[in-house]
């Protein structure tokens, strides 16, 4: 009977069949104590913990197959090349890209955006042109475009957000014009959790023949991505936020764009032939991968995506949505807590301020209860300015979090208010 009614620890588990305790066993880092308390890891938007499958893939690569790629006169190099290129194909399938030539390995989403800025931007953006971003962007999707605008005499146009944290789409439509060369907008806000209407954003831009870059760093860990359905021109994400290793990320670009774009960095691997008179660049995607890549990182990221696919991206989305609703209710019940970012569609991010208690103090007190959160501006200072707060506390949830952990969070927030606020 008790299983039918469900316990207070797992609301909705019956509907999803999500065995979170079993899944947690796949993540060794979750099983530790900090300051004498069990770790409650709620800083997933900063970086996620890694499943054993990813750690094993890295170990296996370095233990058995380590060699440089694309130089294969010996067996280890062939194995390393196969593993690296299989990883590329795994990522192609994950994103449903048309071809592996559209998958470029980079360090992280930040580098992917900088690549598009340097290659697409410096070639196709000129004086008087415009780049459209939104008020929700992470600094990684603001600063590269500011640098480009300064260099080219172009200007940055910013789609505003309303008080809930939703983009004001009428304003967006009005910003698109004959001088707009690129729209670069996030799919999920890292600071507020807002899920933007990215399909509509892309459709409106394409009506004016404007290409769109989607910052998918916060979307990729939480939902299925289909770049063909989105019809985006570029999609970027980071491995380390998607349960994969640090130092590896992906730029997806439509082949037609990548073909037109010049290389980003020069070096080995990105060339076909070099003389002092002339260099012939390599084919896609190698044209954009100068130097020895992060081979182990690519393999580890593929293992992470394999792991996510095994759990089911749609089930991950559903579980995290239940957690978000549960956490929202719990925090709203804590006196003095105000959620910042209450968009109609949200990913599992709870950004909040506590009356009379600075976010930094909340962060320290939570840490003492084992609860890891981020306290600060979340590399999105314009978002903080828009909502008139210097900083928020951000609990960002992942597939392995539990309703019980959210109850610990709410308890610790109450305690912070008792200690400092009283």
């Amino acid at each position: 009977m008790s299983t039918l009614l469900g316990s207070s620890r797992a609301p909705g588990a019956a509907t999803t069949g999500w065995d979170v305790e079993r899944i947690r066993r796949d993540f060794p880092a979750l099983h530790q104590h900090v300051h004498g308390k069990p770790l409650v890891y709620l800083d997933n938007a900063a970086t996620s913990q890694k499943p054993q499958a990813v750690i094993d893939a890295l170990t296996a690569y370095y233990t058995r197959d380590n060699a440089n790629v694309h130089r294969g006169v010996h067996l280890l190099s062939e194995r390393a090349t196969d593993a690296y290129e299989n990883a590329r194909r795994r990522i192609q399938r994950h994103l449903n890209a048309v071809s592996p030539r559209e998958i470029v390995f980079v360090r992280q989403a930040t580098e992917a955006i900088n690549l598009v800025m340097a290659s697409f931007g410096r070639t196709l953006v000129g004086a008087g042109d415009e780049i459209v971003i939104s008020a929700l962007e992470h600094h990684a999707n603001i600063v590269p475009w500011q640098m480009l605008c300064e260099e080219k005499g172009a200007s940055l146009k910013v789609v505003p957000v309303d008080d809930r944290g939703d983009l004001i789409m009428d304003a967006y439509a009005r910003l698109l014009g004959p001088r707009t060369r690129l729209v670069a907008i996030t799919q999920v806000s890292n600071a507020l959790g807002t899920i933007t209407p990215i399909g509509e954003i892309i459709r409106l831009a394409h009506r004016e023949s404007i290409p769109v870059l989607v910052d998918g760093a916060q979307a990729a860990p939480h939902q299925a991505i289909d770049v063909q359905v989105l019809d985006c021109d570029f999609f970027v994400f980071s491995g380390h936020k998607t349960y994969g290793p640090t130092g590896i990320g992906v730029l997806y670009g439509k082949e037609s764009w990548l073909e037109r774009m010049p290389p980003y960095q020069g070096g080995g691997d990105m060339i076909k032939m070099v003389t002092f008179e002339k260099t012939i660049y390599n084919d896609l995607p190698y044209k954009f991968e100068a130097g020895t890549p992060h081979i182990a990182g690519a393999i580890g990221l593929a293992a992470a995506l394999e792991y996510l696919a095994g759990l089911g991206l749609d089930r991950i989305t559903a579980w995290e949505h239940e957690l978000l609703e549960h956490g929202t209710k719990l925090l709203q019940a804590v006196a003095g807590v105000r959620l910042v970012g209450t968009a109609r569609r949200k990913a599992a991010v709870l950004s909040f301020v506590v009356d009379g208690v600075h976010a930094h103090d909340v962060g320290t007190i939570l840490d003492h209860d084992g609860v890891a959160v981020r306290a600060g501006h979340h590399c999105a200072m314009p978002v903080m300015a828009r909502f008139g707060v210097p900083a928020t506390v951000r609990a960002s949830l992942g597939l392995y979090n539990t309703p019980g952990e959210l109850e610990t969070l709410a308890r610790a927030v109450r305690m912070a208010r008792e200690i400092i606020g009283g």
Binding site: V357, H358, A359, H360, H368, A375, P390, A391, I419, I420
Partner: protein, 154 residues
Amino acid sequence: MTDLRDLYQQVILDHNRKPRNFRVLESANRTAEGYNPLCGDQMKLYLDVEDGMIKDAAFQGKGCAISKASASLMTAAVIGKPVDEAEALFRRVHAMLTGDATASRDTSNDGDGLGKLAVFAGVREFPSRIKCASLPWHTLRAALSGAREAVTTE
């Protein structure tokens, strides 16, 4: 294991709730701004310095309990002190916060003789919070040296 009470001592909590000298100082002839980009703490420090003496000190700004209490206790400590004594106090507080006894030869790093300022000795067990406590002091130093750029902790 560190204890939260080592960090959030009663004196600190009291100065956070009721910061002393928390106002604009109209008579100020030295000012400086301090900023911690990691957490968004911002403060403006006002000093009235005459004949090598800090006649008055005040501050304004937004910050966490540690930075606010630190600014509050610092202003209270330096009012009426000669500038060189305030500079010496900066070195001693800095050594106490970082646990670095070599920072100044005449310094012990356990907060002895620092009076109320010794309540910040517990901060060094919380590495992510040391900059919160030291920001007002760096800002004081900038104001005394007439720096024009805002002080940042990064």
